[in-house]
Amino acid sequence: MTEPDKGEEERELKARLERLSSALDSKRSDSEGSQDKVGSDVVRTGQAMSLGFRVLAEFVSGVAVGSLIGWQLDIWMGTEPFGLIVFLFLGTIAGFWNVYRIAMRTTSR
């Protein structure tokens, strides 16, 4: 084995390594790109659905709590329909208020 031969071999090895790593890089970015696209589609649908569920739950629970309070107050104080009417109204507004707060938080971010 002579000196220049070794240098030649080393250079060749280096060139091969570089080619391999660039090929690997391009392949990796390819697969990552496609995976990201599919993954983010599903994730975006899921996030949108969970936001929708959140809005629904906040609104319904506002109305439910309002009517529950009104119904129970009617039983305690004997003011038959009026407690339910007033608190159902207040609960509906509280539900809208909850939804409004979610909307403000998501747009401000």
Binding site: V42, V43, G46, Q47, M49, S50, F53, R54, A57, E58, V60, S61, G62, A64, V65, G66, I69, F87, L90, G91, I93, A94, G95, W97, N98
Partner: protein, 251 residues
Amino acid sequence: MAASNAIDPIHQFEVHPLFSHEMSQVSFTNASLFMVIVSLAVTALMVMGTSRSSLVPSRIQAAAEMSYEFVAQTVRGTMGNDGMRFFPLVFSLFMFVVFSNMIGLIPYTFTVTSQIVVTFAFAALVIGTVLLYGIARHGMHFLHLFVPSGVPALLLPFIVMIEIISFLSRPISLSVRLFANMLAGHITLKVFGGFVSMMLATGGAAVALAPLPLAAIVMLTAFELLVAVLQAYVFAILTCVYLNDAIHPGH
């Protein structure tokens, strides 16, 4: 399972005692068994993940560290550094919910979070913590949470009522959301599974179409995995948002 070939999608949510004591009302049900399994799984992950910590983490160590980092980031992001005192609570809740959601996706298991008793107990714990900590730390000033500034005096009682109802609706929406998501997902999976067996039993052209709901189950299972993690995350982040009211009320 029912004797007929009709599939009952609700059957999976039935709580039945495994062992019970004749004298008392207390019994060890399948729900309690899965709560124990979930707690043991979380403990095992954290103990095994932190016992042999190396610079190049093993898979378990990486999982344990990632879950810590993730929750810590969420807590710091919503409450600031002051909120890290609630980190143990938020982390325990998040890990319990995410593990019970994931374990529940395995066939023949029981999903603890599909019971509203469980999710409501968590939500009540969170709101109770908010109330107790808020009053202990800020005293009467905490009640300013219900009195927004810059409201005309005529409207004030009205607004305060609405704020109180809105506050009371939080535990309900927090618990119902998690419970409803898990319940709906599992029922959907069961119903689609029922379609497959019913179509196979019918015979004829239906047999050829039977793979369609089967393919739908595969997709739904992937979606349920996402929902399981996402709902645990939503539960954790809303816990942080509500606890933030206890730390910094009145804005």
